[in-house]
């Protein structure tokens, strides 16, 4: 390789790093701005807008103190979000993994028809059914009830499909061996398949937990009273035509994303697998 060629490669390499550093700045700066703003009084922001200026005299923990005070419902929203996300994720993984496993491992009538239905559900934007679903939720007494948020989307097509793909790639020898040893079909699933599918569970756990933690449109429709809201809906109620409660909105938004960022630092691999799960082709 000639000296000129080496230099050219060096330059290209540096150019790429600069390009990605700028893009990284674009990715991170809105979050950084938000965190900075959460330590400033809201009047400051009403006057100058959201910016990265750091004036040590203005910085304080007042916004956070307000969030945790009795005047604010933030902690209740936080608790609601935690409960709903945990229940939703656990139930979703439980049912979706069973369905996906059955579609991958057993040969039975209508198996392909069922798989087609799973794919059809994935292909239709859920926004189109929110009105009938809202009517149905009224008759089922699910309005303003956390089960109303959880039940309709609990058996989710994407995790089913993901578990099916994953289970399909696992060796089947164990299954017959377990049957010979007298294991029930459910025993096979819970004792043998679930541990084997652990990586798939991790990816889907993150995908579904993130989805339900951030979910907006459906909980916005179902949850009606202030005490029942989840964080995203609660935060959205702070913007009103009569004025915006920025003190609470910004610090509340920061506390909603910080736990996720911390988990992300440690489990990046599973986030990335989970979030790109749909791209895995059958």
């Amino acid at each position: 390789m000639s000296a000129g060629n080496v230099l050219e490669r060096r330059l290209a390499s540096v150019g790429l790093v600069v390009l990605f550093a700028l893009l990284g700045l674009f990715a991170v700066s809105p979050i950084a701005t938000l965190i900075v703003a959460s330590f400033k009084p809201a009047q400051e922001m009403m006057r100058y807008g959201l910016n990265l200026r750091l004036d040590p005299e203005l910085l304080s923990l007042k916004n956070y103190a307000y969030l945790f005070s009795d005047e604010s419902l933030y902690l209740i929203w936080y608790r609601n979000s935690l409960i709903i996300s945990a229940l939703f994720t656990v139930l979703c993984l439980f049912f979706s993994s069973m369905v996906g496993y059955a579609l991958a491992v057993y040969r039975f009538r209508f198996r392909n028809a069922l798989l087609t239905l799973v794919l059809v559900t994935m292909m239709i934007p859920l926004e189109i059914i929110i009105l009938p679903l809202y009517k149905l939720s009224i008759s089922l007494k699910l309005i303003n009830n956390m089960w109303g948020v959880i039940l309709p989307f609990m058996v989710a097509p994407l995790p089913i499909f993901f578990f099916r793909q994953y289970a399909g790639g696992l060796p089947k020898d164990y299954l017959d061996a377990a049957r010979v040893d007298g294991c029930t079909e459910f025993g096979i699933f819970f004792r043998i398949m679930v541990p084997l599918m652990a990586p798939a569970f991790s990816s889907m756990l993150i995908l579904q937990a993130l989805f339900s933690w951030n979910n907006f449109l459906w909980p916005l429709i179902v949850l009606r009273t202030n005490e029942q809201l989840t964080i995203p809906i609660g935060l959205a109620t702070l913007l009103t035509p009569y004025g915006n409660n920025y003190d609470m909105l910004i610090s509340g938004a920061v506390l909603a994303i910080v736990p996720i960022l911390i988990v992300f630092l440690f489990f990046q691999k599973y986030f990335i697998e989970g979030m790109t799960a749909g791209g895995i082709k059958g």
Binding site: L16, V17, F20, L23, G24, F26, A27, P30, I31, T33, L34, M45, Y48, G49, L50, N51, L52, F95, V99, Y101, A102, L103, Y106, R107, F108, R111, L114, L117, P125, E127, I128, I130, L131, P132, L133, L136, V155, R179, T184, E185, F186, P232, I233, A236, L239, T240, P241, N244, Y246, L249, I250, A253, A256, I257, I260, F264, F271, T276, G278, G279
Partner: protein
């Protein structure tokens, strides 16, 4: 595949109970496993879809329902809905134009041998996808505020531009929406393309090099064709995401109320009419129109890209 029910020795005399037989039955098991899906599909998917179709032909008032034929669909042909249709289409087209070529190029760079710290950059670009639309919308609403000191106005001021009213002007509002989408989804799309690139065997490039192919040849003759399936997938989800967009607009304009409806989308129109004004019939008709649009576009796109021919 029928295995006899295994009966452990010593208990052979005991006739297995019906429940026991069920637990060992390989023909019943799959049905028990898929039962949750069948129930959930019937109650929370099939019924609502049919119900939406049915309601779209009705006038739904509290306590009384009347069939009015195509009246709802005729009512939809109004300037506000046309505006929503146009906004959603424009938004979808822009997101496709930005969020496919750009992440593809970035993924190729990240995958190249010249790239340093590619895992670090990959993760950094991904971070916005962790943030909810509510939080992202809040930040963008404030960063694109009208004040001179707001983030975006101070950035353009550095380049010598006047401060802008980002969320009050047609073109700028669309720009803000597309930028918000770009911010949130760029990293995810980069990951999709990166996964596709990593599945292409290196030997293909090596043998092309021996045959004298340059970088561009390799990109157009090897990379592009082999990334086709993943590109089609990204295209499909982007079309769906684009036409179903709602929360971004809801947050930027604090509750679906943009000036002159410059940020109104199809789902925003559905929400306004179906829920805020409780006109379930008209709202359902909007849903059916949205279904027809996304379904038609997907079918056309799958046909054009030849996905139907590759039956497995």
């Amino acid at each position: 595949m029928s295995h006899p029910v295994p009966i452990p020795e010593g208990r052979a005399a005991v006739r297995p109970s019906r429940l026991r037989r069920l637990a060992y039955s390989q023909s019943a098991a799959p049905w028990l496993f898929v039962l949750p899906f069948i129930l959930s599909f019937a109650v929370f998917f099939a019924y609502p879809v049919l119900s939406a179709l049915n309601m779209s032909f009705q006038e739904v008032l509290p306590g009384q329902v009347r069939y009015i034929g195509l009246e709802n669909y005729r009512d939809l042909w109004n300037p506000t809905f046309r505006k929503a249709l146009l906004n959603s289409t424009e938004y979808t087209v822009w997101t496709l134009l930005v969020l496919i070529p750009l992440p593809l190029a970035l993924a190729v760079f990240l995958n190249s041998k010249l790239m340093a710290w590619s895992n670090f950059f990959r993760s950094t670009l991904f971070i916005p996808a962790l943030v909810s639309v509510v939080v992202a919308g809040t930040v963008f609403r404030l960063a694109f505020g009208e004040l001179e000191g707001a983030l975006m106005n101070s950035i353009i001021a550095a380049f010598g531009f006047e401060p802008q009213k980002w969320l009050r002007q047609e073109g700028l509002a669309m720009f803000t929406l597309v930028l918000l989408a770009t911010w949130r989804w760029m990293g995810v799309n980069v990951l999709y393309f990166l996964a596709g690139l990593q599945n292409i065997p290196r030997e293909l490039y090596e043998s092309a090099e021996i045959d004298g192919a340059n970088t561009w040849n390799k990109f157009t003759r090897i990379t592009m064709p082999l990334l086709k399936p993943i590109t089609i997938y990204v295209l499909t989800i982007s079309i769906y995401g684009g036409y179903a967009m709602f929360t971004e607009s809801y947050m930027l304009w604090a509750g679906n109320r943009s000036p002159n409806d410059i940020g109104l989308t199809i789902v925003g129109y559905l929400y306004r009419n179906g829920l805020e004004q409780a006109n379930l019939g008209l709202g359902s008709a909007v849903g059916i129109v949205l279904l027809i649009i996304t379904f038609t576009i997907t079918m056309i796109q799958l046909r054009l890209t030849g996905m139907f021919r590759r039956e497995d």
